[in-house]
Symmetry: C2
Subunit: 339 residues, 2 copies
């Protein structure tokens, strides 16, 4: 079924307040989760609320903790997230990066001891909507084999870049696995194989069977050795820059997905070294050239990442946001105080 | 055959001086190309000298041009490379980023109108060897189809991150194509198929036949849609940050590979927010855990990117650097003044 943005937002907010989240934070989280669902990223929108509530109840997330400044130098600041809510910590940190970029042209915020930020693209996207280029990444617990290994040994460490633009940003939101576990679940439910190998079966062979990979937890790094290499280096960089936990330490902490993780937020003034009109023209021409690339299949024109999301959001605002009936019912129960 | 580091360095230097490169710059270029060959990246080491000489003689590269400062703000500086030598421009720019990082904790240098920087990892690696984290990337002419297209419509835009470390840096040096054209040439010469699809044949089907892909120029983006998305966004970011040419503009300039490209150099003080001993311990533990990941094949232990390069360099310094006989003869001819 479909529900309106406002229905979903207010229902999630009430559910979170009932789970103990202070009202102002519940408001922010509800907005972010609803936006993710509206953009078609249901896995980190409405569908993630039950797990978020579970984490709160298990004490993995401290709903009262606020990020505190550890140290600052010039355009860079380091915060401790104190295992607070991942979404509100990351919103705070990305906004601080924008504040620093306004002062210095570039702003860097590093955040340690935080929790799951849900949809990774949210923060770079928000930075771009404020008129700044956003770059952000995270390290996670080991959930993917390093290339050449048969055991989970590195995180999927999403990496995001958003390019601000009057017509709506172009956004890279890229985890280092080829398919998310959530996506494999969707393939499995519909009885489909993945288009490309999604991981390894128990004999160490590549497979397109999502069920096999959900069993082995040997998910495929994107681009084989390349995504694996990028994942470990992003982990090391996040650890180093935030003086926070590495993926190995997050794995040992064992407080759910991303519990205790490190996050990096960079904001950059896109017109630091050029006129807005000149830079906007270059960017627009590049996007037009990309979108005009001759398609393999005439029915599927090429798009830059993020462009189709703008369209999807419009459809959701007009026709309502698609929800999974059983998840929607569960969150409504939370909103009614029944856990 | 194998030649010593010093033989290769002095031969390349003489070849470049004979091609018109001023001596100090020839010295720097010879060092960098020799290091690349010593590290096993022959395609951008000795093997690249004939093409570099060709570009000089065609006027694609202005061997006398020096980078000039366009504008500076705080920790960020923008330079025009004036189509000078890619290697010396990029060495200059990455060193400036380190200078800025010493002052501000983080340093950003954006460089426009430059030429091919050869092996991408060189500059992040150099930054790490100076004790700073290095991040750098470049945009190139269209040489790869965007995902869903059957024509070259985006660059392979290498992206590099180097993590400084007493034992030698961990380095990501990652082009957005699964296999470089140079690598496909190597497979083709040895009559081998690639392990994974390396591109599309003339019917738009994925293929592991390097010859087909060399013909169609439809090389595979790493991770399919993911590498394609990252490539276009890195291009937009490099263009925006340097106020330089986009991939589309580089393609139109048509002065060889990367002629007129834009490059980004970031340096970061790794101990900005923590003690060296504490951060080094975290990084070392993370690397040890990664390298201890249980291997698929006991004969092939897992390594972090860059670790095997350190070993390869040692072997080259001890036993000599492997060269292709015909390329070595050609560069020796240049060194003797015969073009």
């Amino acid at each position: 079924m479909r529900v309106t943005f406002e229905e979903m937002r207010s229902t999630i907010k009430l559910a979170l307040v009932n789970a103990g989240v202070p009202e102002a934070k519940a408001e922010l989280c509800a907005e972010i989760h609803t936006e993710s669902s509206a953009d078609g990223v249901e896995s980190h929108g409405l569908n993630r609320i039950p797990r978020f509530v579970d984490y709160i109840r298990k004490g993995y997330v401290d709903v009262h903790a606020e990020p505190t400044l550890i140290a600052a130098k010039g355009a860079a600041e380091n915060y401790d997230g104190h295992m607070g809510i991942g979404v509100t910590n990351a919103l705070f940190a990305s906004d601080q990066a924008v504040r620093l970029a306004k002062l210095h042209g570039i702003g860097l915020v590093t955040l340690k001891n935080t929790t799951h930020w849900m949809r990774g693209g949210t923060y770079a996207w928000r930075t771009a909507n404020k008129g700044y280029m956003g770059i952000s990444w995270i390290n996670t617990e080991d959930c993917m084999p390093l290339w050449g290994s048969d055991e989970q040994s590195v995180g999927n460490n999403p990496f995001c870049i958003a390019i601000p633009r009057d017509k709506g940003p172009i956004v890279l939101d890229m985890a280092m696995s080829q398919y998310a576990y959530g996506k494999l679940g969707v393939y499995q439910l519909s009885g489909k194989q993945t288009e490309y190998p999604c991981g390894f079966d128990e004999n160490g062979r590549m497979t397109t069977d999502p069920g096999e990979v959900i069993k082995t937890r040997r998910i495929m790094p994107t681009g084989y050795w390349k995504g694996s290499s990028m994942a470990i280096v992003l982990d090391l960089a996040a650890t180093m820059m935030s003086n926070g936990n590495s993926g190995t330490e997050i794995t040992h902490i064992n407080k759910g997905s991303c519990g205790g993780c490190s996050q990096i937020f960079i904001a950059y003034d896109p017109y630091l070294f050029g006129d807005k009109s000149e830079i906007d023209r270059k960017i627009e021409e590049r996007i037009i050239a990309a979108d005009a690339a001759h398609p393999l299949n005439e029915k599927h024109p090429v798009h830059c990442p993020g462009e189709s999301t703008i369209h999807r959001r419009e459809v959701s605002m007009r026709d309502g946001i698609h929800v999974d009936d059983s998840v929607w019912k569960q969150v409504q129960e939370y909103a009614a105080g029944r856990f």
